[in-house]
């Protein structure tokens, strides 16, 4: 380095100075500089390359996903749900094409008001209401917002011609669930509704899209996986301003599978008509295989309303309806009342307590056990009562005697082997299993011993005992077919759209109950007596043989004391015309006496089923022996048992 002490720095840029530079030193200096700059250059280039490598290679998948989320709008094409068809070929759940108006909140987020304003003019709807509907739906659902369903042709064309000015507004032809028979099948096939935010969160792993509908109850829910199908989707490019461009991908939806039910349409409709205006349920089973022939609960709701939407008034009135139309009464548990007496009788026969059906007890209208007095519903007493008369007249005292002799655990075992206290096999959500009490249950529940007095009450179908109308039908089915406890099933086949049978449900015997055929014929004799000369004469139908048992279940609840509620009316029976038969359980909640209310319904139902001319009016003639529930006295009234 040249070190000059003098301040001889020349500011007049004369070329002389440059010549004095010691070139050798300067060249070395420059070499050093260039070397350092080489490092700088390669270092910076290396950093940049590494960074780009990181973004493009290591994080490629992530950014590609982000890019796709941003610039590709994926719309779901909902797969049409499978149809549901009855055994006689009536389509009871189908799909119909309609125009839907969707808004994509992602696209219109910056000009929601503007778009809604335009739409309110096109649809001639109040702007405020439209806005409210949009924001409510946006809060509740993910994905596109269904602003209006079932557009008219006029509305569709008005929107489509203005499509360029309405980014994020989509008109789509969709298939929508449609139930041609509305309320009739509500409790059997259930309904579908759109997924809400929380449901979507749980179900998205299973291939659901935010705009999907899902079966909420009944068959729609149980067979959701078969009915649903596989959604298709369209991928459309979306530019930064939200306008949709060309379609870059499309997969076609696969429709759901069709369900073929065992249910017979005319039976279902008949049962529905009979229960109109009442609270109750009618269940019919085939004793041949346990297949469901009809299942009606009344009142019901129109399932189409879950798709088209309830008005707030409708929804409110349904919610506050004291008849609880959402409740599937066929699957709720109630005290079975006298219909259970047949189970008691069977247990007593099988146990050898009744050796001779002609051996009788004396009914004086009441039965004393310890200090307690149990009354018969016939206050005057039935006099001398044998098994046939006891069933036909539903004598309580006869069964009190059996209850006294029967071991509760044996009775419970018999009840369970007939299917009581167990799931029926239909598998509907919300199905109650009911309750068949025994010692173990009492110990667990109340930490107490079983008292024989309680057996006496159970013997006539009261007390802790709770059964569903479906279970009662199932129990009588076992009696009707001589001991085969079939699993109840409603779907016999699942087919694809080409008609190939993909799955076939065969009858399944859950348990074969060994019943002495002699005993069985005695019980049939008794059941025949009910209809011929006993409490269920109203169920008598000329031309067919009906075997039935009435029941009038005492309603013990706190409510009873306030409102004078009627008893539950039951009539469980089976009937045959010689070639075919069916088991029916008729239940009318707070309907009154089983003989007066339920038995005529059963009779009418058989007329419909066997296509016999109906009687008019349905109201029974005056000479019907009216059974009543045993009076609620301290002796046999058990607190806590209620129909709720």
């Amino acid at each position: 380095m040249i070190k000059k002490k003098s301040f001889n720095v020349n500011l007049n840029f004369s070329p002389k100075n440059t010549e004095v530079i010691d070139e050798k030193i300067l060249t070395q200096k420059w070499k050093k500089r260039v070397l350092i700059l080489h490092f700088l250059l390669f270092f910076l280039l290396f950093i940049l390359l590494v960074r780009v490598f990181y973004l493009q290679i290591i994080k490629h998948k992530y950014f590609l996903k982000k890019a796709k989320e941003r610039s590709v709008a994926t719309y779901i094409i909902r797969a049409p749900r499978g149809e549901i068809i009855t055994s006689d070929g009536v389509v009871i759940a189908t799909n119909k094409p309609i125009f839907q108006l969707y808004l994509d909140p992602e696209v219109i987020k910056d000009y929601e008001e503007e778009i809604l304003k335009k739409l309110s003019l096109i649809l001639k709807e109040d702007f405020g209401l439209l806005k409210e509907r949009y924001y409510l739906a946006k809060k509740k659902y993910l994905g596109r917002i269904l602003l209006k369903r079932d557009l008219s042709w006029d509305e569709v064309s008005k929107i489509l011609v203005r499509q360029y000015y309405l980014p994020g507004v989509i008109v789509e032809v969709e298939v929508e669930r449609y139930y041609p028979y509305g309320e009739i099948y509500f409790h059997l096939i259930g309904y579908v509704a759109r997924l809400d935010r929380n449901e979507y969160k749980n179900l998205k792993e299973m291939g659901y899209s935010p705009e999907d509908y899902i079966g909420k109850s009944g068959i729609e829910r149980v067979y959701e996986n078969y009915l649903k199908g596989v959604n298709g989707q369209v991928e459309i490019e979306r530019d930064a301003k939200g306008r949709l461009g060309k379609i870059i991908g499309r997969s076609h939806p696969q429709p759901g599978l069709d369900l073929f039910l065992t249910v017979e349409h005319h039976a279902q409709v008949g049962a529905y008509e009979l229960l109109k205006g009442k609270r109750g349920a009618i269940v019919a089973l085939s004793p041949k295989d346990g297949s469901l022939l009809a299942l009606v609960s009344s009142p019901a709701v129109d399932p189409n309303k879950y798709i088209s939407g309830f008005t707030p008034e409708e929804w409110k009135s349904l919610q506050h309806n004291p008849f609880k139309p959402f409740l599937n009464r066929a699957l709720q548990a109630y005290p079975p009342g006298s219909t259970f007496k047949l189970v008691t009788a069977l247990a007593a026969l099988e146990r050898g307590i009744i050796r001779d059906p002609r051996s009788s007890f004396f009914c004086a209208g009441s039965f004393n056990f310890g200090r307690k007095v149990f009354r018969c519903w016939e206050k005057r007493g039935h006099g001398s009562v044998d098994l046939f008369k006891a069933i036909a007249q539903s004598c309580d005292v006869y069964f009190y005697n059996l209850g006294l002799k029967l071991d509760i655990d044996y009775l419970a075992k018999m009840a369970r082997s007939l299917g009581l206290g167990l799931p029926s096999g239909i598998g509907f959500p919300g199905e109650k299993t009911g309750l068949v009490p025994d010692r173990a249950w009492k110990r667990k529940q109340f930490k107490d011993e079983w008292y024989q007095g309680e057996s006496i009450v159970v013997a006539i179908g009261q007390g802790y005992l709770m059964t569903t109308p479906l279970q009662m039908a199932k129990a009588y089915m076992v009696l009707a077919n001589g001991g085969y406890r079939f699993k109840v099933f409603a779907v016999k086949e699942i087919r694809d759209k080409q008609g190939r049978v993909l799955k076939k449900y065969n009858p399944l015997v859950e348990e074969t109950v060994p019943i002495n055929s002699q005993h069985l014929s005695w019980l049939y004799e008794g059941l025949k007596g009910v209809v011929e000369y006993g409490t269920g004469k109203a169920a008598k139908v000329p031309g067919i043989q009906v075997f039935g048992k009435t029941g009038t279940a005492q309603v013990v609840s706190l409510e009873k004391k306030r409102a004078n509620l009627e008893h539950h009316a039951w009539f469980v029976s089976f009937a045959t015309n010689g070639t075919t038969g069916l088991v029916t359980s008729v239940f009318v909640e707070h309907g009154g006496g089983g003989g007066a209310v339920a038995a005529p319904l059963a009779g009418e139902f058989y007329r419909v089923y066997f296509k016999l001319p109906p009687t008019h009016p349905i109201i029974p003639s005056g000479d019907v022996l009216e059974e009543e529930a045993p009076p609620a006295e301290e002796g046999n009234a058990i607190e806590g048992v209620s129909d709720r």
């Binding site: 380095m1 040249i2 000059k4 301040f7 001889n8 720095v9 020349n10 500011l11 840029f13 004369s14 070329p15 100075n17 440059t18 004095v20 530079i21 030193i25 300067l26 060249t27 200096k29 420059w30 070499k31 500089r33 260039v34 350092i36 700059l37 080489h38 700088l40 250059l41 910076l44 280039l45 950093i47 940049l48 390359l49 960074r51 780009v52 490598f53 973004l55 493009q56 290679i57 994080k59 490629h60 992530y62 950014f63 590609l64 982000k66 890019a67 796709k68 941003r70 610039s71 590709v72 490019e237 979306r238 530019d239 930064a240 301003k241 461009g245």
Partner: protein, 367 residues
């Protein structure tokens, strides 16, 4: 009769290979530049307008390369143009304008400032005895550098900062005394510690936002870092081979803001992927490498400094543009040579390249 003198014959190099490669690089980069204009997927008029800029840029390139002799340029021109641009920047600063708009053409003066400062300082440095000057003189140089940047600062903070940094390093490698260098580094540290909190409040919201956006691009992806985030998506979604010519989602569907200028690199990266980026960086890097190796060979001091300056300008332009669009550095609004659209950047790039290739001519190397 001798055709060649001994001396001349020894020095004769039949067009060295590295020069051939440099010319090839030049052509390829020009090709890439034009390709990227089409790649942006704009309408034809937009593309052809920029092709026109390329034609003008290349014309200027060959004009300088063949017709202009630095030796014949009176040195006063450098001083006059320095004073002229400083005055222009002062005026623009007063009117708060970033662009000089003449008719339908808008010129970015900061692009031309680079060239004028480069010529001016290269000339100043060449007329001194390196290693012998006093600190006072260096302070004068620094003052001469700072003055136009001071005017540029309020209208174009990014460019003022990058030009400042580029020329400071240019000074350092042109013989800035070590004492002064350490003084400045020390001063810089003290100032950044003390002034940054103060300056923070003075920053405009969009400038603050950029810093927020840089620190957390995911969090502010809808606001401050929208640009950066979209750029990162564009680059990242390119992958190894890219989405294809004119096929990039971000480009085609207009998700990339400023895709013509600041984020032109992202457009390239999205369309041609890591492969395309590697090609671009290799070519660009080779040009820089070649320029750097040329520097010590040039015998003429003016050319030496000019060459070094060109190296710095191209290096920092690359580093700040790519660093910004990949999220490595703060997002700055400087264009990328070759890839970006614009008259000012295209013309200045070709002017600088013309200088570079002119310096590589034998007569400069073997004076």
């Amino acid at each position: 009769m001798k055709l060649w003198s001994e001396d001349k014959a020894q020095n004769f190099v039949p067009f060295p290979l590295d020069h051939l490669l440099a010319w090839l690089t030049f052509l390829l980069l020009t090709f890439i530049g034009i390709l990227n204009q089409f790649n942006m997927g704009e309408d034809a008029s937009h593309v052809y307008k920029n092709i026109l800029w390329y034609v003008i840029g290349l014309s200027i390139f060959f004009l300088i390369y063949f017709k202009i002799d630095f030796k014949k340029i009176p040195p006063q021109i450098y001083l006059i143009s320095y004073m002229g641009i400083t005055l222009l920047l002062a005026l623009l600063a007063i009117f708060k304008k970033r662009w000089l708009i003449i008719g339908s053409i808008s010129i970015q003066p900061s692009e031309f400032l680079k060239i004028i400062l480069l010529l001016f300082f290269s000339y100043l440095f060449s007329k001194r005895r390196e290693g012998s000057e006093m600190i006072a003189l260096w302070l004068v140089y620094l003052g001469l550098l700072g003055l136009p940047l001071l005017f540029l600062l309020p209208v174009d903070l990014d460019y003022a900062f990058i030009i400042g940094l580029t020329f400071f390093l240019f000074f350092v490698f042109s013989g800035l005394p070590k004492r002064l260098l350490f003084l400045f580094i020390g001063l810089g540290l003290i100032l950044s510690v003390t002034l940054v909190p103060l300056a923070w409040h003075k920053l405009k919201p969009h400038q603050k936002g950029r810093i927020y956006g840089f620190l957390e691009p995911q969090k502010y992806y809808k606001t401050w870092s929208y640009q950066l985030y979209q750029s990162m998506i564009a680059i990242g979604s390119g992958g190894m081979t890219g989405q294809g010519f004119k096929q990039g989602w971000s480009t085609r569907l207009n998700y990339l803001p400023a895709k013509h200028t600041d984020l032109a690199f992202s457009v390239w990266a999205e369309a041609f992927g890591f492969l395309g980026v590697s090609i671009y960086l290799t070519l660009y890097g080779y040009l820089l490498y070649w320029a750097l190796n040329l520097t010590p060979k040039i015998k003429d001091p003016f050319g030496k400094y000019l060459c070094l300056g060109i190296f710095f300008i191209f290096l920092f332009q690359l580093f700040f543009n790519l660093g910004g669009s990949t999220g490595l550095l703060f997002m700055t609004s400087i264009p990328q040579p070759f890839l970006s659209y614009g008259g000012s950047i295209t013309i200045t790039t070709y002017i600088l390249l013309a200088f570079l290739f002119k310096l590589a001519k034998r007569k400069f190397i073997f004076k």
